[in-house]
């Protein structure tokens, strides 16, 4: 529970040095009760009577509230923090007392996050990352609910203390942000593929919550009306209409998501060799990435964005927490024009703009294309087998439909396979290992050589027959491993030797097959 590692410094420090959480946290606790109560009242207004079930729900909500606010109050009174010359200390807990101390030079990142309720009361959450990739979020040191002014001040002091300790202070020339939100990028908002799925999830969760409160939306007048009208139109029309509604809602949803996540986006260079990404409308997020921990970048082009010549840029950095945390915090840009993404990449890495360009990378052997086409054939056969199999049993109509569908599917999947093959590429550019792959989302990763801490070579039975392998560069940053798919032995070994010289050398031998030939 507690990690008493480096406590013992400056025990004589005055009590007043300790910072505390903001007392406005009590109001936040009250706020969690608002939504359920409003819903309960709405239900009461609609149905006109409060059933026993609804009362029980309300009662349990109230108990939950008591427990949550009790915990909140305890946190408020027991949590205190301070920054000393060597470390940042955090004391908290009543029953399980935890005293944690982090040496300031271990600090990798300081993030400020504020959800809407927090923002309403001028509060924010400050979390300190120490660069342990595997530890869970609970091990991250976080101050949940300090006032915004305190948070900004604390953040400044932490970075200052760290730099003083490390003996350097990088002066920042104030040459403006590296990148800033351009509202014309909003056009990429609707192109997020998650929109449609998001609508379904939101709909389902609203329905479930209403259902829990004994409100059945299917019994409301206008829904019944809709049902009647739908009942009298042909099936295909209904399906078409629902698809259109879904897509429209999806587009609206993903545009709203874009606005929520990326309003006020600014990528800046800060004192102490940090990059800082600030963004968000309702929930404001601020992620700091230490320049020293930045091992590279990843350019992602999912299908709809690729058609619009847009891309997203992610940081490949260590110290952003566990894999899940890393996925939430690694974004350097929203979906932006490809050229802008390349410019930002060049700017943060200090390289030239053609670094994450796919053209010019070494192509992969034809056997890699064969693997992809074979996979497309296999999926076509598997998917077509379902309607055809059912057709043999139920009637010839399905067989014909299945075969036509299969032919179309074959064309589409083979086109994807060829595209996936064209995307494959690898090479070294300066000090960066480049690898590019992907079917639905193209990913081009530039990973700095020093960041590579080993190789993971995998071979499937099919790859062994085709004389290929997948070379994975393991790293402490980002996803932990970045793969170069389907290279020949010679290509893979050459790349590995270039990226980390002499590591593989003792484990190489002459290929007996070619020795016999030559």
């Amino acid at each position: 529970m507690s990690r008493e590692s480096v406590v013992g410094t400056a025990e004589h420090a005055a009590e007043s040095e300790w910072g505390r959480l903001s007392s406005r946290l009590i109001l936040v606790n009250l706020a969690i009760l608002v939504a359920p109560v409003v819903m309960f009242l709405a239900d009461l207004a609609i149905t006109g009577d409060a059933g026993l079930q609804a009362l029980i729900t309300l009662g349990s909500l109230f108990v939950t509230f008591l427990v949550v606010s009790g915990i909140g109050l305890m946190r408020l009174f027991t949590t205190r923090y301070r920054v000393t010359e060597h470390s940042v200390e955090l004391h908290s807990g009543l029953l399980f007392r935890s005293r944690r101390s982090i040496p300031v030079d271990r600090i990798r990142s300081v993030d400020l996050t504020a959800n809407p309720v927090h923002r309403l009361f001028g509060l924010t959450t400050l979390s300190i990352g120490t660069g342990e990739q595997s530890t869970s979020a609970s091990h991250r040191l976080a101050l949940d609910g300090i006032s915004k002014a305190d948070a900004v001040e604390l953040r400044r002091r932490l970075i200052e203390a760290r730099d003083a300790r490390r003996g350097y202070a990088v002066p920042v020339e104030d040459d403006g942000p590296i990148s800033e939100l351009d509202w014309s990028w909003l056009r990429y908002g609707p192109l997020s593929v998650w929109g449609v799925g998001g609508v379904l999830i939101a709909g389902a969760s609203v329905y479930r919550t209403l259902h829990e409160l004994k409100v059945d939306p299917l019994k409301w007048g206008f829904v019944k009306d809709l049902e009647h009208r739908f009942g009298s139109v042909p099936l295909w029309y209904g399906i078409l209409a629902s698809v259109v509604v879904l897509v429209v809602l999806g587009i609206a949803g993903s545009t709203a998501t874009f606005i929520e996540s990326w309003s006020g986006y600014r990528l800046t260079r800060e004192e102490g060799g940090m990059f800082r990404v600030r963004r968000g409308l309702l929930v404001t997020r601020s992620v700091s990435i230490e320049q020293q921990r930045l091992r590279g970048v990843e350019l992602v082009e999912p299908i709809p964005l690729r058609w619009a010549r847009a891309a997203k840029l992610n940081a490949v950095a260590s110290g952003l927490g566990s894999l899940d945390d890393n996925r939430k915090r690694r974004m350097l840009t929203p979906p932006v024009p490809r050229a802008e993404a390349r410019r930002v990449a060049a700017e943060v890495l200090g390289t030239d703009r053609s670094l994450v360009l796919r053209t010019g990378l070494t192509r992969h052997p034809r056997a890699a294309l064969r693997r992809r086409v074979n996979r497309a054939l296999m999926w076509t056969v598997l998917i077509t087998a379902v309607p055809v199999g059912l057709g043999l049993w139920l009637g010839p109509g399905l067989v014909r439909g299945g075969l036509i569908g299969g032919a179309v599917l074959l064309l589409v999947l083979v086109a994807f396979a060829v595209d996936a093959y064209r995307t494959l590429g690898h090479g070294m550019r300066g000090r960066y290992l480049l690898t590019s792959s992907g079917t639905f989302a193209h990913r081009t990763v530039a990973l700095r050589q020093e960041g590579i801490i080993g190789w993971k070579i995998t071979r499937t039975p099919f790859q062994r027959r085709a004389g290929l392998f997948t070379l994975g560069a393991t790293t402490a940053a980002g996803e932990g491993v970045y793969k170069v798919h389907d290279v020949t032995d010679a290509q893979g070994i050459a790349l590995a030797e270039q990226a980390v010289p002499r590591l593989l050398l003792p484990f190489l031998e002459r290929d007996p097959r070619s020795a016999a030939r030559g």
Binding site: G131, G454, T458, T474, A490, I493, R502, L504, R510, D511
Partner: protein, 163 residues
């Protein structure tokens, strides 16, 4: 670089490991067909179904028990130099890993109950990467201890771990 390839690591794992894997695969493959077999024998009206289920699970299970252990024994190999750990594992899907000793963070040994029966040990070498550790399984107890000593000696000499 045209005519070179990765050679397999030098050392095989203990031949006892084949028996360990066989026992493991038996524990994995037997319970399901056994249950169906008992049902087949004890509930006459459902004979047909349970006969097919029993056979359907027994045949692939037996193939797994017969094929997997010797195949794994052919693949699993390891080697440690003064610079790196090199290990191969898997059977159908194979994995070869190289980690420079300078990037090693921790070295653990693990002896599961089954491994103990065969007096075998596993050595796990972790780095700062989240992509998993290098695992050398099925080597002798004494060998594992030597290996750990060797690895810790060399990793202590080089503190940098690239986090």
């Amino acid at each position: 670089m045209e005519d070179v390839r990765l050679r397999p690591p030098r050392h095989r794992v203990e031949s006892r490991a084949v028996n360990w894997w066989r026992l493991q695969s038996l524990l994995f493959a037997v319970p399901l067909p056994l249950t169906f077999g008992i049902l087949w024998a004890s509930i006459p009206p459902t004979r047909q179904i349970f006969m097919w289920l029993t056979l359907g699970f027994l045949v692939p299970g037996l193939i797994y028990v017969l094929v997997m252990p010797p195949w794994r024994y052919r693949v699993h190999r390891w080697e440690v130099t003064d610079e790196a750990v090199y290990a191969a594992s898997g059977w159908l899907w194979q994995q070869w890993r190289v980690v420079p000793l300078s990037r090693v963070q921790t070295v653990d040994t693990l002896r599961g109950p089954l491994q103990q029966i065969f007096k075998l040990s596993g050595v796990t070498v972790t780095t700062a990467s989240a992509s998993g550790a290098v695992k050398i399984k099925g080597i002798d107890h004494a060998m594992a201890d030597d290996l750990v000593a060797h690895l810790t000696r060399f990793t202590q000499a080089t503190p940098e771990d690239a986090t």
